[in-house]
Symmetry: D3
Subunit: 70 residues, 6 copies
C-alpha cells in the first residue's frame, strides 16, 4: 500500500503507555529524536507493537505546523 | 511560549511552493530527512519563511499514525 | 505496509479538482456514496491518481465525529 | 445546522468502548462496513449514544488520505 | 443535527479569501476576536458564505492544543 | 516561539479531567465561553496545568469547520 501522507519517519518502539481506549507510543528515530503517537489500543495490538519493533511514523502534511524563534 | 504538542523537529526551509490560500513548506531535517507542511500563505509570510531559515516542525501526537511492514 | 488508521473505504476516483498546492479527490464508494479528500497535488501525482483508478480512503479514528438528529 | 465537513456516512451504533476521557464508537454502515470514531465520553453521553442508535459519521475532507496498491 | 465536536464559537463572516480548492474564512467573534478556518470552496459555496453572514466555528476537542508562557 | 497555527484564544484552566493517556482540559475564555482540549497527560503535567492557570488555546486553521443554520 502506498499512501498520500507525505511524512514518514522510520524508528523503533521505545515505550508503550497503555490507556483504556488509546495507547501512547514513543518511537525512537535513528537520529536519537523521539516521536510520540496516540493511536487506539486496538490498532496498537493489531499491529503487534512491542518494544524494539521497527515502525514508521506517518503524518499528513496538513497536520504539520511550523514554528520559528521570536 | 510552551505548547502541548509533543513532537518538534528542527530543520531549515528547503522549498516553499506557493498556492493561493496555502503554501507547502519543505523542511530539511538535520539527519537528511525531509518534512512537508501545509500552512496558510498568511502564516508563511507572518513567520518570514524563506529558503535556509531555521524552523521547527510541530506535530500534535494525536495526528501521528504508526505503520509496520506486512 | 499496515497502518494504525482504523478506517479504510474502498472505491474509485470519480473526480480530481486540481489546485496549486492541494487537489480535491472525489472517491466513489461501492455503495454509491462519495468521499471527498484533500491531499497535496504532489501526492496525487505520486500515487498516479486518475479517473477510474481503484483507491482506498484512509481515516484516523480520532478524526471521525459523530452526529445525531436533534 | 449545516456543516462544512464534506463527508457524512449514515449508520447505527454497533459498539461503545468506554475509556476515562474518550470513548471509541463503532458505527455499522448500511453496506456492512464499519467506521470507528474516537470522541470524548462527555460527547458520547450528551448525544445519548447507545447500541442501535442511528448516527452519522462526519469527517472533514482534509482528514481523509488516499492509498493505492503498490 | 447535533455533533460530537465540543467547541462551537458564534460569529459572522468578516472575510473570504478564495483559492482554487480551498477558501480561507475569517470569522469575527462577538468579543472582537477572529477565528480563521480553511474549508473547501465547494463547502463555502454550499453554505452560502458571504460577508456578514452568521456562522459558527466548530472544532473537535482533539484538535485544540494548549500553550503557556515560558 | 511563534507558530503557524492561526487561532489563539486566551483563557484560564477551569477543569482538568484526568484519563490514563489523555487529559481533558476545560479553558474558560474571557467572554465566558469555554473551550475543551484533549492533550496527553504528559503534556498537561509538563505545562504545569492547574485550575486558574493562564493558558492559550491554539488551533490550526485547517481544523476549524464552519456551520450555518439550516
Amino acid at each position: 500500500m502506498k499512501i498520500s501522507a507525505r511524512n514518514t519517519l522510520k524508528g523503533t518502539v521505545k515505550e508503550i503507555k497503555e490507556g483504556v481506549v488509546n495507547n501512547e507510543i514513543t518511537i525512537q528515530l535513528a537520529g536519537g529524536q523521539e516521536i510520540i503517537s496516540i493511536i487506539t489500543q486496538t490498532s496498537s495490538n493489531a499491529l503487534g507493537l512491542k518494544l524494539g519493533k521497527a515502525v514508521t511514523a506517518v503524518i499528513k502534511a496538513s497536520n504539520v505546523m511550523v514554528a520559528v524563534e521570536d
